[in-house]
């Protein structure tokens, strides 16, 4: 649990973060989204005290972060930045071992942890451990960057535009990896991005910031359905809004009794996928199959339409 | 702050230099304590002004010849016709610059004898190295797409060179010339040890007769000249760089 209470940060005359309060639940992904200069990165960096708040309190698991020395605090929090920031003069293994080494872990434990993390990101230790960062592809570098941040088993992972430098295909893969790793380890993630699409895809909750202020802090569906007046509205009011909304829920949520002709949809498919299938097959409804493959009902175009619309 | 200090310091340095060269007698009270046994306080074996002019003339001639040679060679090895010479000339420049200027000077003596000739040869040969190097660097650094655009608009190779490439490379070339002139100022001073006329004479006369006052006069005049010339060329360079929007990366 992370709690920010009336946190502000000034740079000279400029108020970069203006009285932000929010709390992040343990084991969730929170995405802070905003344009450049919105104060999103500053907010993130105040959590691990790379930037000290000018006023306000930040608590992690009830403990005021200001009471811990900055370096000690940061060694306990994973941190990933855009362009990964791998140390070019160190091997992959030594990069991952950075924080364990700083914490004085014994060599055997560190080595074991490095192997564990490499396999977590499906990189074979014997292939990658001895390589230098410049010998890796962009996607591999990014994975090593995340692995490095997770090395000392932190309960909290901070990510500052972690996928910003990746091309779209690698980016999508990296996002899936993150979701999988987060689910598996149950860690808390706070991620900063300027990409609303990414925020909706990754976040359990989204914090929208502009001009240093926190404008809205809500689950993605809520942000899409009821955006706060003004900036948030403009941010989400694109042509894609219904599709974004549909992509947040699975077919299971709107399955209705009855049958239909055609190839069955999996109940785990997103509503967006369901709509796509319906349109493509020129049908009004398709059957839905449960986990065991048996038909459990159907999904209709009308139900989708009801789900995708804004408030009347 | 530096905006005020810069011009004031420059003016002060220039004033001191002019006074030292034109009115050395003004400094008698200051320099007197540095002499012993009633030795002359002010350099008396020649006019400081003529030595200064001679020194500057030598450096100017050597730098002009060096610049001309270096430019022609630099342009040649960056054209298609001279491309084969590029790796070699880079290596030679690199090796040449490890030769100490004094050694070049000393080695020229046995070949051409004492006097101004070995000094001029050493100045030209050694001085052209940084200009040559920077000409190559400058021309190689001109963005590919700019040259491509020039070609696409129908400029012939000569027009490309004179209207596009050389102007863009100019700040880097100027940085090389500045470096070369400063090196030449120093080498010309040492040239006095092989009997070339110049300001080194004053320092050497001081060393030979243990007359610290001579050493001070010669040393300060040479130092001020070098610093002012360096500074002036740096200002010129910044003007040019501003116009082309490129700053020379070669620090000097």
């Amino acid at each position: 649990m992370i709690e920010l209470e009336h946190v502000s940060r000034r740079f000279g005359e400029q108020l970069a973060v203006d009285d932000v309060s929010l709390s992040v639940a343990r084991g969730t992904i929170t995405v802070i989204v905003g344009t450049s200069g919105s104060g999103k990165s500053t907010t993130l960096r105040m959590i691990n005290r790379l930037i000290e708040p000018s006023s306000g309190t930040i608590r992690i698991d009830g403990k005021d972060t200001a009471a811990v020395p900055g370096e000690e605090l940061r060694r306990g929090i994973g941190y990933v930045i855009q362009g990964n920031g791998l140390f070019p003069h160190w091997t992959v293994a030594r990069n991952i071992a950075t924080v364990p080494t700083l914490l004085g872990w014994e060599a055997g434990r560190t080595e074991k942890r490095v192997d564990e993390l490499l396999s977590l990101f499906s990189m074979r230790s014997e292939d990658f451990a001895k390589k230098f960062p410049h010998q890796l592809s962009g996607g591999e570098q990014q994975r090593v960057g995340v692995a490095r941040a997770l090395a000392a088993e932190p309960g909290l992972l901070l990510m500052d535009e972690p996928f910003g430098a990746l091309d779209p295909i690698i980016r999508a893969k990296a996002q899936e990896d993150l979701l999988a790793v987060q689910r598996r380890l149950g860690i808390t993630v706070v991620l900063v991005t300027h990409d609303m699409e990414e925020a909706i895809h990754l976040g359990h909750k989204i914090a929208v910031m502009d001009g240093g202020k926190l404008l809205q802090y809500a689950p993605p569906a809520e942000i899409l359905a009821n955006p706060a007046h003004g900036f948030v509205e403009r941010l989400v009011n694109g042509v894609d809004r219904p599709f974004r909304l549909l992509s947040l829920s699975t077919v299971a949520t709107i399955v209705e009794p009855g049958t239909a002709d055609g190839p069955p949809l999996a109940e785990t498919a997103t509503l967006r996928d369901a709509l796509s299938e319906l349109l493509w097959l020129k049908r009004d409804a398709l059957p839905v199959a449960g986990p065991d493959g048996s038909l459990i009902g159907r999904v209709s175009l009308a139900a989708l339409r009801a789900h995708a619309g804004g408030p009347a | 702050m530096s905006r005020i200090i810069g011009p004031i310091a420059r003016l002060a340095a220039l004033g001191l230099l002019l006074a030292l060269v034109l009115k050395p007698e003004w400094f008698v009270p200051v320099l007197k304590p540095f002499t012993e046994n009633n030795a002359p306080v002010i350099y008396n074996q020649g006019s400081l002004l003529s030595l200064t002019l001679y020194h500057l003339g030598l450096v100017a001639i050597a730098s002009l010849i060096g610049t001309a040679l270096a430019l022609v060679m630099g342009v040649f090895v960056t054209r298609k016709a001279g491309a084969e010479f590029l790796p070699l000339s880079r290596s030679l420049v690199n090796i040449g610059q490890t030769f100490p200027p004094v050694a070049v000077l000393a080695l020229a003596v046995p070949v051409v004898g004492f006097g101004v000739k070995p000094t001029l040869i050493a100045l030209v040969l050694y001085g052209l190295l940084p200009i040559f190097e920077n000409t190559i660097t400058g021309l190689k650094e001109v963005p590919e797409n700019v040259v491509e655009a020039a070609r696409g608009m129908g400029l012939d190779p000569t027009q490309q060179l004179f209207r596009v490439e050389l102007p863009l490379a100019l700040p880097v070339i100027l940085a090389g010339i500045r470096l070369s002139v400063v090196i030449n100022m120093g080498t010309a001073t040492i040239g006095s040890t092989v009997a070339a006329k110049g300001l080194g004479e004053v320092i050497i006369a001081g060393l030979l007769t243990s007359n610290t006052s001579f050493i001070l006069q010669g040393g300060i005049i040479v130092a001020l000249l070098a610093v002012l010339i360096y500074d002036g060329l740096a200002i010129l360079e910044r003007r040019v760089a501003k116009r082309t929007g490129r700053l020379a990366e070669v620090a000097g």
Partner: protein, 396 residues
């Protein structure tokens, strides 16, 4: 517009089979072989001598070998041949020239004449230059790695050591000059190295921390770098001269300073002047090197909880190393040359021979000072270039 069909006229065939660099090499080599004397024979140390052609300065067999091998080498240079062959040819030719010149004294000096001096003449130097160019061109085209270049340097050093140690060159005038100055040579040589390395060490001790401080503090940087730039601009002779004054005064006022050996002339002003010259490259390159470390890397180090100290020593300085080494290379090569001038103020070093030689119009003595200086500077440059490249390998 139609492309002309490719026809190989005799002229184009010739130009495609000839190497342009090789043509220059050949012109210089032929000039040296046929138009300029190979060696000079002087009745004694100071009188100017008479030039001897290659044929006149060697026994017939050696002259034939020399002309034959060097002609073949010239042909190899002119034709478009592989870089490795050219490299081997260049090295072999230089080696042959080194051996040949050592044979000259025994051939042309009547036995028992201790005054006569034999030295290489323009022809020898032109050929040596030509084949050095051939070698350099081949090395540049082969893009030899740092280790290969170090091996070549080691080979050259060993070869010269063997030629010197075996006494093969003992008849040459520069070595006769060495024989009369042997003790002094090593003393001045040690002094030369001591001054060059001592001033570098002092500059590192002061310059590295100063560079780090300048990197972190823009105000300090704005003051320090221009001052160091001005110092660097002052010509060396003026600098040495100006050093005399304050140190002389210090020695006159403070018996302690005088007892420590601080005087207006001698080692102290030389060392201080060299130290001042060394500061700019060390400080400026430290600043540039640290500035080039990518922001994200520094931030990652900070974000993972490294202290300032850990960040500097584990991340920033290792990454800035190649640029800092470049600064050290500049300093070392520059200082080895500048030490020569320190001889004017009694600082010692190889410059002592150079200026003595100039004073006596004794070319051989000038060479005894200049050649080892150049060799030292060249060796330092090759060593540090290799070190720079090796340190760059792991950078992005």
């Amino acid at each position: 517009m139609t492309e002309a069909t490719e026809t190989t006229t005799p002229a184009t065939a010739l130009t495609t089979r000839l190497d342009r660099v090789g043509i220059v090499v050949a012109v210089i080599a032929v000039l040296g072989m046929d138009w300029q004397p190979f060696a000079t024979l002087k009745p004694n140390r100071l009188i100017s001598g008479q030039g001897l052609s290659l044929a006149a300065s060697l026994p017939t067999l050696w002259a034939a070998i020399g002309v034959g091998v060097l002609s073949i080498a010239t042909i190899v240079a002119v034709l478009r041949t592989g870089a490795l062959l050219r490299l081997a040819t260049g090295i072999a030719s230089l080696l042959l020239l080194a051996v040949l010149i050592g044979i000259v004294p025994a051939t042309v000096v009547p036995p028992g004449n201790a005054y006569a001096r034999v030295s290489p003449a323009a022809g020898f130097w032109l050929m040596a230059f030509a084949f050095a160019v051939l070698t350099t061109d081949a090395v540049a085209k082969l893009r030899l790695g740092p280790l290969a270049r170090l091996a070549m340097l080691a080979g050259a050093v060993v070869t010269v050591a063997i030629l010197l140690g075996s006494g093969h060159w003992d008849g040459l005038s520069i070595l006769k000059e060495y024989a009369t100055n042997a003790q002094k040579f090593w003393r001045e040589g040690a002094k030369h190295v001591e001054l060059a390395l001592g001033s570098l060490a002092a500059a590192l001790v002061i310059g590295l921390p100063l560079g780090v401080a300048c990197h972190r503090n823009a105000t300090l940087r704005g003051i320090t770098l221009p001052i160091l730039n001005i110092i660097q601009t002052v010509p060396s002779m003026a600098m040495y001269g100006l050093m005399i004054v304050p140190l002389g005064l210090l020695a006159a006022w403070s018996p302690l300073a005088a007892s420590l050996g601080i005087r207006g002339i001698g080692t102290a002003p030389a060392l201080i002047a060299l130290f001042l010259y060394s500061l700019l490259p060390v400080v400026a390159n430290t600043v540039v090197g640290l500035g080039e470390v990518r922001r994200s890397v520094v931030e990652a180090a900070e974000g993972m909880g490294m202290t300032r100290h850990q960040r500097l020593f584990q991340v920033e300085l290792p990454l800035a190393l190649p640029v800092i080494l470049t600064g050290i290379r500049i300093v070392l090569v520059q200082n080895i040359g500048l030490v020569t001038i320190a001889a004017l103020i009694g600082g010692g070093g190889f410059g002592t021979f150079v200026f003595q030689g100039i004073g006596q119009a004794a070319t051989d003595l000038v060479l005894l000072g200049a050649v080892p200086t150049i060799a030292l500077a060249f060796t330092a440059a090759v060593l540090l270039d290799a070190a720079i490249e090796l340190s760059e390998r792991r950078r992005l």
